[in-house]
Symmetry: C2
Subunit: 251 residues, 2 copies
C-alpha cells in the first residue's frame, strides 16, 4: 500500500471543479482511493457562512459565556445539530449532516475573509459527483473517501474519519471467516474506510502545509457497489454511549 | 508513505525473538515504523491462559447467562479490569493493562490449543525491547507501535489503535501553528500513532491470512525521545463519556 499527496492544489473557491483540479496534477490508476478533506469540498460547494449574520439565543449566550466562546459560533453549532449531547467544555452533537462530532463540523481554520466552513451538505453525494467526474476524465475506476477529523472516546487526539463514500467499502466483515487455526471467527468488523481516512490524514497536515487530497493505492477498498458513510454510523438504538450521555445530561 | 507486510512470519511461540524473526525477513531503514499486532507479542511473552482453570463468580455466571457467553470467559474479563463500564451486551472495561476496551483485550482467535491470549503485560516495554533489539541487529533507528483493534463510540467497526510505543510520537500538536491564512490555529491534536496503527491494520487482516507485522515507511512518526501509549489515553478527570457511563450504570 502506498499513499501520496496530490501536490499544488490551489486554494479552492466556490464553483471549482475539484475532480479536474486533481486529474491535472496526478496520474490515477484503477482501484485508487482518492481521499479528500471535507473542507475543500465545502468551499467548492460554497458551504461557507459568516458569523455577522447570526443572532445568538439566550442559550447560546449562556454557553458562550461559560466557555469563553463567541455566542454566534455557539448558535451556529446549535443550528446545525439535531441533538447536543455535551454542551461544555466542548459541544458534542449529532450533526444534521450525519455524524456525531464536535461543533457540528463547523471549521474556522483555513477559510478566508472571516468565513467559516460547514460540512458538505451530503458528503456521499459530493464523493459520487467527484468520483464520476474523475472516471469521466481519466477512464479509471476509483473510490472516493471524503474525510473529517474527529476526536474519540477514551483517547486523546483526533484522527481522520470517513464522512462521504463513493465506491469505497465502509466496513469489512470478517464474520464467518476462519482464523489461523481453522476456528470460525465469531465476529469482527473492520472499519476500513476510516482506516484509509486515518492513513491519509497522516499526510494531509492541518497547518500551513495542508494537503487536502491524498491518493491511497494498493488497498482493496474499491468496490463496484453503492456505498455510504452512513454505514459507518452506529444506529441510535444500538448506541449505549448516546443513551448514557442523555441520562448524564439530565442528571 | 508506504506500508508493507513482513511476509512469512511463522506462528509465534513463547520465548520467540520477534525482533530477530522480523529482521530475517525484511530490510529496514532509519525512521521505519514497525507495527506489530499485540497478539503475537502476548504469545512470545507467554501471556496465554486456559479457561479450564477459572471458576466463575455468581456475577460472571449472571452476565454469561444473559448474553450466552462462557461464564469463565466473563470471569477472565472481570479479573483483568479495574472498572466495568458496560456489562451487556458487550463488556466495555478499563483494562488493567492500560486502555479502555472490550473484554479486557482477551483474544480467543488465532491462539492454538484452546488457549486465550491476554494483552502484553506492558506493551510500551514490549515495544522498547523489540525496538532496541532491532536496532542492535540492524543498526537502524526505528520506531515500534504495538497495536490492538478497538471499537469506537458512535461509529461501527473496529480500527487499529496503538497500545505500546517505542520512539514513536503519540500525538502531534498543531496548537500555535499558523493555518493557510496565517491565523493561529487554536488547538488541534492529531493522534498520529493511532493513525499509523489504523493504516497498518488495513494490511494485517484478521482471518487466516493474518499478517501481524507491517512496516510503515515515510512518516515523521519516529522520535528520539521516550514515548508511551499512555499519552494517548484520556485522563479520567477529562473524560465526560466515562462519567456518563458511570451514572448510566447506576440509573
Amino acid at each position: 500500500m502506498e499513499a501520496f499527496t496530490v501536490d499544488d492544489i490551489p486554494l479552492i473557491k466556490p464553483g471549482d471543479d475539484i475532480a479536474a483540479i486533481i486529474c491535472q496534477r496526478v496520474g490515477l490508476e484503477d482501484g485508487d482511493v482518492l481521499v479528500i478533506a471535507s473542507t475543500i469540498i465545502a468551499k467548492a460547494e460554497n458551504e461557507l457562512f459568516s458569523l455577522d449574520n447570526i443572532t445568538p439565543s439566550a442559550r447560546a449566550i449562556g454557553i458562550g459565556k461559560k466557555d469563553g466562546k463567541d455566542p454566534r459560533l455557539v448558535q451556529a453549532v446549535l443550528d446545525r445539530c439535531s441533538e447536543c449531547f455535551v454542551e461544555s467544555p466542548v459541544m458534542l452533537v449529532q450533526s444534521d449532516r450525519a455524524h456525531v462530532c464536535i461543533n457540528s463540523g463547523v471549521d474556522d481554520s483555513n477559510v478566508e475573509n472571516d468565513l467559516l466552513a460547514d460540512l458538505p451538505r451530503d458528503a456521499d453525494a459530493s464523493a459520487r459527483i467527484i468520483g464520476e467526474r474523475v472516471e469521466e476524465i481519466t477512464g479509471c475506476r476509483v473510490a472516493v473517501v471524503v474525510t473529517d477529523t474527529n476526536g474519540r472516546a477514551f483517547r486523546l487526539g483526533q484522527t481522520g474519519v470517513a464522512i462521504g463514500l463513493y465506491h469505497a467499502t465502509p466496513i469489512y466483515y470478517w464474520r464467518g471467516k476462519k482464523d489461523l487455526f481453522g476456528y470460525e471467527m465469531q465476529i469482527s468488523e473492520e472499519a476500513v474506510a476510516d482506516e484509509v481516512a486515518a492513513a491519509a490524514n497522516l499526510l494531509m497536515g492541518e497547518g500551513s502545509g495542508g494537503n487536502p487530497v491524498v491518493v491511497v493505492r494498493g488497498t482493496s477498498l474499491f468496490t463496484g457497489g453503492k456505498t455510504s458513510a452512513c454505514q459507518l454510523y452506529r444506529p441510535d438504538n444500538m448506541d449505549i454511549i448516546k443513551k448514557a450521555l442523555r441520562i448524564f445530561k439530565e442528571s
